[in-house]
Symmetry: C2
DNA sequence: GTCTATACGACGATAGAC
DNA sequence: GTCTATCGTCGTATAGAC
């Protein structure tokens, strides 16, 4: 069918633009990534680019959404905390993406910014299964039962986000090790200690 | 002396501009705060404003510096963790300032951005005394001695920064309570438990 | 649906007069 | 120290070609 072929081409072009945008951000930083630059890198006019994404801000949000979908596919079979750590570990190899994420996470404070709705949904969707997971781990006695699972999940998220911003400023920070230290703090003290 | 009067006027005008800039950010958000808007609010032309601060980015960094100095004066006499919590508590009443801080903390990932140097210095200066403080608390047995004081301090900073970004997206978050829960986790388990 | 060319208003910043 | 005038760049709306 002709309609399907055209549609498929649109999908492919969209992904090509997302890749070009990420490359420009990685090469020139978030500040230096103009719509014109990204359009050039994708072999398109600025107006052609905006035909797909509506605005620069929506384009950037679409990059994060594509990353989420990729991570979900890649780490779906693993244990949740292992997957979480794997994502953090992988992020240290894509500073451009981390910079984009940090910028949009800050911009999301403005309710009128497209990133606002994205982060609200993402947070709600991501936190729920993790909460149940930690509650189950508490019942198994694997982690302290005197802390609210909701607090644990929120802390992990906020810690990971803050760590990534801090890592951009000081790449010497070992993000996975930092997170693991926090997880270690949640384990109940052995009865034989002290 | 004439020289002194002129200098004093420059200082006063600088602070007036800082106040106007913060008011504009609070009213219109970080995105909506243009140099022209801020200059209007301060009763100045855009060029007149930039005479004092060089660039928009430096102006915003100057706001954070002024806040730091104010906080230092206000909470210097208190216990360090009490002061830390007091700042966090106060921040919940100035969302414009928090938004500005979150945006610049993300922008600091770019080494060419004025916020980069600011955050590097601030972090180094702030973390050192806190590290010694927690090390001392460990020797007194007030907090667990199996965690690195450097890790604690970095976690507190990163947690506070991340929490503020998250709070902008979801103002329902109780930032001080969240931090206090973390501090509670650092206390050694009582010997009588279990 | 896909895309280009053109144009517009707002932006941050600079030069130079006063 | 502060202005006006102006510059180049930005994001993006519009009109219309294919």
């Amino acid at each position: 069918m002709a309609g399907r072929a055209v549609y498929a081409k649109g999908i492919a072009k969209r992904e090509e633009i997302l890749g070009a945008a990420l490359a420009v951000v990685a090469a020139q930083g978030y500040r230096g990534a103009s719509v014109r630059d990204i359009a050039d890198a994708a072999g398109l006019s600025p107006a052609g680019l905006l035909h797909y994404f509506g605005s620069k801000e929506e384009l950037f949000v679409a990059i994060l959404q594509a990353r989420d979908e990729h991570d979900l596919r890649t780490y779906a079979d693993q244990d949740a905390t292992a997957a979480f750590l794997a994502v953090i570990r992988h992020n240290a190899s894509v500073p451009g993406l981390v910079q984009l994420y940090a910028q949009l996470a800050a911009a999301a404070g403005d309710p009128a910014h497209p990133a606002h709705a994205y982060f609200r949904e993402r947070t709600a969707l991501l936190e729920e299964p993790f909460r149940e997971l930690f509650a189950a781990a508490q019942e198994r006695g694997e982690i302290r039962d005197d802390v609210d699972p909701g607090w644990i999940v929120r802390t992990l998220r906020v810690l990971a986000d803050g760590l990534q911003s801090a890592w951009l400023v000081d790449p010497g920070i070992d993000m996975p090790a930092h997170i693991e230290q926090f997880l270690a703090l949640l384990r109940p003290l052995p009865a034989t200690a002290r």
